[in-house]
């Protein structure tokens, strides 16, 4: 079985490092990106199986990226989990077509559960 690719985009490198460490396994490859402008090209290039996306990021925000993903035919059904400390995070995620939402600070076990639900790894 080939490894699943998870793209994590957050402007905070601390979170990126932590998530990379947490999610890395025999079944998954983790790609991290702190600059939200690179996300769309990165999706095209890497064709990830799941995206973990922060909302509040400079220049291009998570909801903008999410809308762009949903508008393109080849990515419109790509699983996206929004991870955000924003108060209206859940609402923004729902309204823009995210598959799931997890409020920061989240429980790592909960994150594994949600990831598992989307791509059936790390369960």
């Amino acid at each position: 079985m080939s490894k699943k690719k998870v793209l994590v985009c957050d402007d905070d490198t601390g979170i990126l490092e932590m998530l990379e460490l947490a999610l890395e396994s025999d079944e998954t490859v983790i790609i991290t990106e702190s600059n939200s402008l690179n996300v769309i090209p990165l999706i095209e290039k890497e064709k990830p199986d799941l995206i973990l996306l922060d909302l509040w990021m400079p220049v291009l925000s998570g909801d903008q990226i999410l809308r762009a993903i949903r508008q393109q035919t080849d990515t419109q059904s790509l699983p996206v989990i929004i991870i955000s400390a924003s108060l209206d995070g859940a609402k923004i995620a729902r309204e823009n077509g995210a598959n799931d939402f997890l409020a920061k600070p989240f429980d790592i076990d909960e994150l594994f559960n949600r990831v598992c639900k989307q791509i059936e790894v790390g369960c």
Binding site: D12, G14, I15, E17, M18, L19, L21, A22, W56, I83, A85, S86, L87, A90, K91, K104, P105, F106, D107, I108, D109
Partner: protein
């Protein structure tokens, strides 16, 4: 009596003595003082006085005969009535004056004096008849009346003055107050405005007074909802409270104004007038917005590293070797616990700010109430081994509410129950249907809450009595819970007695939430 015919004396030689005696007796019987002076003699001396005159003046006839009348005025010579008398006598005309006279013992009396000249056949004045009335009592009454009148006038003057002062006082308050005030008549026409109104809206009296409120400026007050409040709510004796108007006002630009209106109910001149106070809260709302923005950003920024810390701590747990000693495990568990606390504090801080500015919105969605309770309790149970948390009562099923906020409430109530009952073992969570409401109760056997504190624990930043030293916290938890339950259309309350545990309960309406917009 032969000499009296048709009411007139008719003298004859035979009866003259008898007649004279009779007339003299009549004069003496009069209570009017009568004197006769002889103008033909030097200094016009008194040649006759009757007994009433003697009585009035205290002089005997023999003491007075031969004196001029001025004797009665003693040293009081400057009275203007003397001049009138003098003129009358000189011209041989009758005079009437009221003059101050003095009795023999020096007592003042007011004499209403009528002086009438007697002329001989050639028209020359031979005598004067002086008719005197003691009018002291009347004069006194008049003086008293005058005095009373002056007193009354003075009082009216004083009252008017004090009323004027009062008015000026009120006026100066009205003009000093840093709030715009408008008085309307019952047709919403502006009767007056204070200076602060004119300064705030940069308008003058002419373009404001006698205009309809709804026509002022560019129609900034012509708001259907405000119109309705003024026309329909005010007459029912309810004031309009804190009506917010956000508008691009002429001259002053975009402002947020808070409007309070009140109708004068007491009868009289001012009945049905409407008082409106307008407060410019533009700066305040701007500051509040900035504070909100700041707190939102701050909480977001604080949660970001917290996410990383939490993740690493949980991973340490995961990767912990089998042989790790208990002390280390315990330290890690404590660390995780306090990271959660820090996370909750950040959330609470933001919630308080949102409630204060009325921005905490409830997002209703159907969720499984029983599952929510079970999961929340499970979470707390996992962290508190000292207590057993028991769920009792009937199943509720699904409920349409804001699940995450309700979790917050249950979390708060149950963890409080655990926290404040360190000596006891059991906390009970009870679910029930009561009429159209869900009722959830959290019951502990802990330290309880005094009646005095029960009033205040739902207030912001309030911490009961000695709690602060033993159980640190911000004192916002119950305040937030109360607000969340209120927003759902329910109520949150406590029944407790010091030392006998507490029962916190809340209700949630199962029918469509009553009209909270």
């Amino acid at each position: 009596m032969d000499s009296l015919k048709d009411g007139h004396f008719t003298f004859s030689r035979d009866t003259v003595e008898q007649d004279f005696t009779l007339l003299t007796a009549a004069l003496d019987a009069s209570i009017t003082g009568i004197i006769i002076t002889d103008n033909r003699l030097t200094d016009n001396p008194i040649i006759y006085c009757n007994s009433a005159f003697e009585k009035m003046t205290g002089y005997d006839r023999k003491e007075i005969i031969g004196h001029n009348c001025r004797l009665l005025q003693r040293e009081d010579r400057t009275q203007k009535e003397r001049q009138q008398l003098r003129e009358g006598i000189d011209q041989g005309k009758p005079v009437m004056v009221e003059i101050r006279n003095y009795t023999k013992t020096g007592t003042l009396f007011w004499n209403e004096l009528y002086v009438s000249p007697i002329k001989d056949a050639s028209g020359k004045v031979t005598h004067f008849i002086g008719i005197q009335h003691d009018v002291t009592r009347r004069k006194q009454a008049e003086a008293e009346l005058e005095n009373e009148r002056q007193l009354m006038e003075q009082r009216i003057e004083e009252r008017t003055q004090s009323l004027k002062l009062g008015q000026e006082y009120v006026e100066s308050i009205v003009q000093t107050v840093r709030e715009s005030l408008i008085v309307l008549d019952n047709n919403y026409k502006v009767l007056s405005v204070n200076d602060h109104f004119l300064r705030t809206f940069k308008v003058n009296k002419e373009e404001t007074e006698n205009k309809l409120l709804f026509d002022l400026g560019n129609g900034q007050w012509n708001i259907p909802r405000l119109k309705e409040l003024l026309e329909k709510v005010l007459p029912t004796n309810n004031p309009v409270v804190d009506f917010q108007v956000e508008h691009d006002f002429p001259y002053i630009g975009h402002k947020v104004m808070l409007l309070n209106a009140h109708r004068i109910e007491y009868s009289g001149e001012y009945k049905d007038r409407i008082l409106i106070a307008i407060e410019d809260i533009t700066d305040r709302s701007e500051i509040e917005k900035r504070k909100d923005d700041f707190l939102t950003v701050a909480s977001h920024e604080l949660k970001t590293p917290l996410t990383t810390i939490k993740g690493y701590v949980q991973m340490m747990n995961r990767f912990m070797p089998e042989e790790t000693d208990e002390k280390f495990k315990d330290i890690l568990a404590k660390t995780a616990q306090f990271i959660d606390r820090l996370s909750n504090l950040i959330t609470e801080l933001l919630d308080v700010s949102r409630i204060q500015t009325g921005k905490m919105a409830i997002h209703r969605e159907m969720f499984d109430f029983d599952q929510m309770i079970a999961e929340t309790v499970e979470g707390i149970q996992a962290a508190s081994k000292s207590h057993q948390i028991i769920i009792k009562g009937e199943p509720i099923g699904s409920y349409n509410g804001d699940e995450s906020h309700l979790i917050q409430v249950v979390n708060n109530l149950v963890s409080n129950a655990v926290k404040y009952s360190p000596e006891s073992k059991i906390v009970e969570v009870h679910k029930a249907f009561v009429s159209d409401y869900i009722k959830l109760s959290v019951i502990d056997n802990g330290m309880g809450i005094s009646a005095e504190d029960q009033q205040k624990i739902f207030e912001r930043f309030y911490r009961a009595g000695d709690i602060q030293t033993k159980f640190p916290g911000m004192g916002v938890g119950l305040y937030i819970c109360d607000q969340i339950i209120k927003q759902h259309g329910g109520t949150l309350w406590v029944e407790s007695e010091k030392g006998k545990g507490s029962n916190f309960s809340f209700t949630l309406p199962t029918k469509e939430a009553p009209g909270k917009k």
